[in-house]
């Protein structure tokens, strides 16, 4: 049974449809990637999960029961548009946000101390937020998102604003939280981190879900059909019934061609067409990056 489920969620602002029958299903203790170009409707879906907005149609389930206001305490949300009160002291601020999530003062205090130690920011308690760098502020925000130990965590672009070192720290913290039992929804444009972290994804484009599934399945599905072939000599390779050319280029009297097998075509069919053109130097099946898949799927759906 999935830990979190959204079924056929539809949301309109006036005449504009932001989400059109979008469903996601997040297994327990997994990381779920929510992908899509800007303005696709990801943030709206996330806001609906956080009950900042209500859906026009569709249902949401958390751990088997219908999502309700009580669940706010078991959800942690790091929005893309995030900030802190600039004039407030770091410690007081985190304490305030924790108490709004329903933690008692003493409980919040002891957890804050643990997390401040963990992320090595113990000395910041009395600093004002405006004295911190952007990356430092992000750390504070991360702590206030996870402090109440939510069972469902939603990170919207969690790595933006971090340098590579700190981004890596945060990445490891996300994995640590998952291992401790949290279920995580991750919305990001950073496809490398999707490949690294996510178990499942949904790709939303123009309010519709256009691709979803396990990351490994998706990559395999797309890789089974793609090859990079290098042949001797500067040649022009034409498309035919067996394959579609993705790209080709020539340099150092070698020609490199990326192609995709058409339905029903085997690698032997393809090579049968290539061999007469020139001597084959190498043939490699390519595993497309999530980046490639993202771009291709979005462009195809136009």
């Amino acid at each position: 049974m999935p830990f979190f489920e959204a079924i056929n969620v539809t949301k309109q602002f006036g005449d504009f449809t932001v989400l059109d029958n979008v469903s996601i299903s997040v297994p327990k203790q997994s990381i779920y990637g929510l992908l899509g170009p800007n303005g696709a409707g990801k943030t709206t879906l996330i806001r609906i999960i956080n009950q900042i907005m209500g859906p026009d149609r569709g249902e949401l389930y958390l751990n088997g029961h219908k999502l309700s206001q009580q669940d706010i305490a078991s959800i942690g949300y790091l929005p893309e548009e995030r900030g802190l009160y600039k004039k407030m002291k770091v410690g007081e601020q985190v304490l305030y946000l924790a108490r709004l999530k329903g933690l008692s003062r003493s409980e919040a205090m002891s957890r804050i101390k643990l997390w401040f130690k963990r992320l090595e920011i113990t000395g910041w308690w009395d600093k004002k937020v405006e004295e911190l760098s952007k990356g430092m502020q992000q750390k504070v925000q991360f702590i206030s998102t996870v402090l109440h130990e939510p069972k469902l965590l939603i990170f919207d672009e969690p790595f933006s604003g971090f340098d590579p070192v700190n981004a890596n720290i945060i990445k490891n913290e996300i994995l640590y939280l998952r291992d401790k039992g949290a279920t995580i929804i991750l919305s990001t444009h950073n496809m490398a981190s999707v490949e690294e972290l996510c178990d499942n994804i949904t790709l939303i484009n123009r309010s519709k879900s256009i691709l979803e599934g396990k990351v490994s399945d998706i990559r395999e599905q797309w890789s089974a059909k793609e090859y990079e072939i290098i042949i001797e000599g500067t040649k022009k390779i034409e498309e035919n019934e067996h394959y579609t050319i993705i790209s080709q280029s020539s340099s150092d009297s070698k020609t490199k061609v990326k192609l995709r097998a058409n339905d029903g075509a085997s690698i032997n069919d393809i090579l049968g067409k290539i061999i007469p053109i020139g001597e084959i130097i190498s043939v490699n099946p390519t595993v497309p990056s999530m980046n490639d898949i993202f771009i291709r799927v979005v462009n195809e759906s136009r």
Binding site: G14, D56, P79, L97, K101
Partner: protein, 453 residues
Amino acid sequence: MNKISIIIAREYNVRVRKKSFIIMTILTPILMALLIILPTYLTMRGDTDLKKIAVIENGSDLFTGTIKNSNEAEFVYLDDVDLNTLKNSFEEAGYYGILYIDPAVVSTPNAVQLISKKQPPIGLINYINTSLKNEIERQKLLAYDIENLDRILKEINTSVSVQTIRIDKEGDTRQTSTGVAMAIAYIGGLLMYMLVFMFGSMVMRGVIEEKTSRIVEVIISSVKPIQLMMGKIIGIALVGLTQFMIWILLTIGFVGIAKNMIIGKTEGAVAISAVQESRDFMSAASSAQAIPEARATEELSEFMDLFNTAMNQDWGLIIFSFLFYFITGYLLYASLFAAIGSAVDNETETQQFMLPITIPILLGLIVAMGTMTNPESQLSFWFSMIPLTSPIVMMARIPFDVPAWQLAVSMLVMAITIVGVIWMAAKIYRTGILMYGKKISWREMWKWLKYKR
């Protein structure tokens, strides 16, 4: 709700601990105290600067000794001095000016001249006028050769001051004063205007701060937008009440201390200066020769009268209405301000939305001022029913006795309106706080009202 109280506490603590709040809270009463003390202080300083005035009569001694020395001027009666010579040398001789009296003054009022280098104070001129007038009247009466003239004069010396008595339905009479009612109306209306505007715009700035710092989305994932909005509105109301209370206490304190420090030393001078200030009102009632102490007592009793009529006002009703209209008026405007704050990206953008809010408040203030001269007018009636203006206008009407049904209707309309306005403001607010980088129009806001959550 527990979460609302956490929000209220933060909004309150953050503002109360600000340096600007502490400075404002302490400085304002000092300024107020100065405003009250300074005029008195300056009058007293004027007193120490005694003006010596040479009195010259044109060949008679009719008025010698007529004008008594006061605490701001000393009159020196000179004989056998040529006016033209003195004109050139009076300053060197230590005189402030020359009072030249022609005996023709008995029939020609402007036969008296006060020659000086500086513009003489109005009090001095009034003093001289009154003294001479009384003396001339006395002389004229003397010419009739009436027996016991002085006694008769004392007897006919009369003073009239209309006492207004209002009879209420139960037939109880009450001494009232239109002046006092006006003062209460004025203070009530103005205070309402200031408080509502000051703390309403504080709410707006708070909302804009949360929006521009982008913390708002974090918070509304924990609480409902309306909880955040109401928490802020209530928190700031408490800040306002705190500041207001401190102001009142400190002002009373400072005035007391300052009075003791400056005035206490020269208590006698105060009584006399008080008499001087009241000369304009009193000149008809008492002769220039009257002893200052008697006047001071009169002054005191007049003050006591004023105080008593002020106490005769229905203070229970006034305070109840003030609290009611302050809370409701503030809620009304603060929610409008919050809605506007949520719709804009920074404070400069608020201009276009502020105008429709400022106009009713100003209109209310203007009508309230008119209300003081004519409390029963149609205009005042309607403006005290319309919720946007009723807090100010009704406060101005209450000291003049408002029929109970009118008050009830006004309060009822207000209460209903508030529920509606808060509901509308909350709808605009929850959409507005998540909108960035978009120029918002009134039409856009109207659309937000129809969005589902």
